[in-house]
């Protein structure tokens, strides 16, 4: 059973490794890559799956699959609402993060299926590729998530207050100005760090599986199965980490800007020197 699963990677010419998606065909000027194709397929699978699950939901659900989905949704709901000081404000963001969690989780798991990779080719290129094994896809997820974080914090506080929350004191002090600008850059680099973490974990997991099934040669199932199991665990862990990190970024920003009466420099003694002494 597992022989067919892994034999596709155990070729005599060494493992074939792609770290970028390959183009399949063109619609107009837009190049359709193999990861885009698999992303659409998994999106359709997800929509059908969750529509069926949503229609079967009852107070006492029957069947393990529904309970599994319910447990996952409940877990993320608790995670999101407990991160916010204001529970009702946190409840607003729950649907997005539950969707994000299941989208990443299912894309990671579907990418591990046999047939996704080198076994099925189209004009010499692999037909399917894990959607999260493509930096464009994870960068899109990172941009949308961090866009939600910025938008929600600006909406919660107003633009002026939002800009002000980067500065620990008066921006007229050059030290605080510098620290505030660095803080802004840190906020921007979160898009890259979120997306590259997910992308590299998935892609390097595929590379590790390919390398170990190549090294195993005849006994490829024996050598590659442990790493496939590790990848199943890592796929779930990375979905959880993507969600918990983005929830934390959102919660920190929103909790901060809605509670920032103490951020004015009125009571901060360090900034006193900038103003004339109150005699």
């Amino acid at each position: 059973m597992f022989g067919a699963l892994h034999s596709f990677a155990a070729t005599s010419s060494g493992p074939t490794v792609f770290i970028t998606p390959l183009s399949l065909f063109k619609i107009g000027n837009i190049t359709i890559t193999n990861s885009m194709l698999f992303g659409w397929i998994s999106a359709v699978i997800l929509i059908i799956f969750f529509t069926v699950i949503a229609h079967r939901l009852t107070v006492k659900p029957k069947g393990g699959l529904i309970q599994l989905v319910e447990a996952g949704a409940d877990f993320i709901t608790n995670l999101v609402t407990s991160s916010f000081e204001d529970k009702e404000r946190g409840r607003k963001y729950v649907p997005y993060f539950v969707t994000l969690f299941f989208f990443i989780l299912f894309n990671n798991w579907l990418g591990l299926l046999p047939g996704v990779g080198d076994s099925i080719t189209y004009h010499g290129n692999p037909l399917l590729r894990a959607f999260t094994g493509d930096w464009d896809a994870t960068a899109a997820a990172g941009v949308v998530t961090m866009g939600l974080v910025y938008g929600a914090s600006i909406k919660a506080a107003g633009f002026k207050k939002y800009i002000k929350h980067f500065f620990i004191g008066s921006p007229l002090n050059p030290m605080y100005l510098f620290l505030g600008i660095i803080e802004m850059f840190t906020d921007l680099t979160r898009v890259v760090s979120l997306s590259i973490r997910l992308f590299l974990n998935v892609t390097i997991g595929e590379i590790v599986i390919a390398v170990f099934s190549y090294l195993g040669h005849v006994v490829a199932p024996l050598t590659a199965t442990p790493f496939t199991l590790v990848e199943i665990f890592i796929a779930a862990l990375q979905a959880y980490i993507f969600v918990i990190l983005s929830v934390n970024y959102l919660a920190i920003a929103v909790n901060h800007v809605t509670h920032n009466e103490d951020l004015t420099d009125e009571d901060v003694p360090e900034t006193m020197a900038l103003r004339p002494e109150k005699a």
Partner: protein
């Protein structure tokens, strides 16, 4: 006189150094996280519920190891 760089495939050495050097730091970091987590559990068994947070920090540290691994595909 044979130039050493012509005689030896330096890309192999570069990849080896990159993997070796790049994995030291995250290895130490994950060791520190795991050790401190076990110490916290040993002092206070209630702290074992923070395994999820420990894994989050492991993932943050692991990113740098993955970056080092991904960099070997850039070296030709």
């Amino acid at each position: 006189m044979i130039v050493l760089a012509d005689a030896i495939d330096t890309a192999i050495i570069a990849k080896g150094l990159m993997i070796g050097g790049g994995f030291i730091g995250p290895g130490i970091g994950i060791g520190i996280i795991g050790g401190n987590y076990m110490q916290a559990v040993g002092r206070n068994p209630e702290a074992s519920k923070f395994l999820g947070q420990a894994l989050v920090f492991v993932a943050i540290v692991e990113l740098f190891a993955l970056l080092a691994f991904a960099s070997i595909f850039i070296v030709k």
